[in-house]
């Protein structure tokens, strides 16, 4: 069974503004403004423009951030956030 892969919206289409512990994202193509919490901005940051599976994204996050010991249990969390972002057009499902 092929793993679904995702690609983040091109960085040139997003304006990201960190505020307090939330960030703002202006999506140029849709003209929509989103208020986002971790791990969304970090996920978009590590994805770059690359087509990636859920576990690959989690791997990249763990390289840059401390995720604790239970990283296996985070797979469904990353998957859920990707679904959310795909529905909003901030990532593309490939």
């Amino acid at each position: 069974m092929a793993q679904p892969r995702f690609r983040a919206e091109d960085a040139s289409h997003l304006v990201i503004k960190p505020l307090d512990d939330l960030s703002l994202i202006y999506h140029r193509r849709s003209g929509t403004t989103h208020v986002v919490a971790s791990p969304v901005p970090e996920m978009l940051g590590v994805m770059g423009g690359d087509p990636l599976g859920v576990e690959e994204i989690l791997e990249r996050l763990s390289q840059r951030f401390e995720l604790g010991n239970e990283t296996e249990s985070l797979i469904p969390v990353v998957a859920a956030r990707l679904e959310e972002l795909a529905a909003l057009g901030l990532v593309e499902r490939l």
Binding site: D21, V35, V36, A37, S38, P39, A80
Partner: protein
């Protein structure tokens, strides 16, 4: 499986500067499966022409200045168990340092989630925009 670059050791230049301070990755709060991490700004429909002309701004009440935020984002009295102060003031340096790890001084994951839910409630229901802006929606 990608090769894993080991970032847990500082490179030599940093090591020279921070011999006494172990380098550590910032903690990233991942949240839970069911907790949405995005609130989208969206306009809302006018409730009625009368309210629109009278320009009642249907934003959610600010609540009392002394109130706290409960886990689900509602405003509650300060002595409510599990509620956090609504005021969130961070110094610029705190925010910059936290950008890498999203962990601001004094904020727990629960506080951040409560705050996110509070923000979401500001957009909930059919009272998102002022009466004026809602006029731009088809009726």
């Amino acid at each position: 499986m990608n090769d894993r670059e080991d970032h847990s050791q500082p490179d030599e230049a940093q090591a020279a500067e921070s011999l006494a301070v172990p380098s550590r990755r910032q903690m990233l709060m991942m949240g839970a499966v069911a907790t949405s991490a995005v609130v989208s700004i969206r306009p809302a429909l006018a409730q009625s022409a009368a309210s629109v002309m009278n320009c009642e701004i249907p934003v959610p009440d600010m609540g009392r200045a002394g109130q706290y935020i409960a886990a689900d984002g509602r405003l509650v009295p300060p002595d409510t168990p599990g509620a956090f102060p609504a005021g969130r003031v961070f110094k610029g340096e705190d925010v910059k340092a936290a950008i890498k790890g999203r962990s601001l001084p004094g904020t727990s994951y629960e506080q951040s989630q409560a705050y996110m839910n509070y923000i979401r409630r500001l957009q909930a229901g059919n009272s998102g925009f002022t009466c004026y802006a809602s006029l731009q929606m088809p009726r």
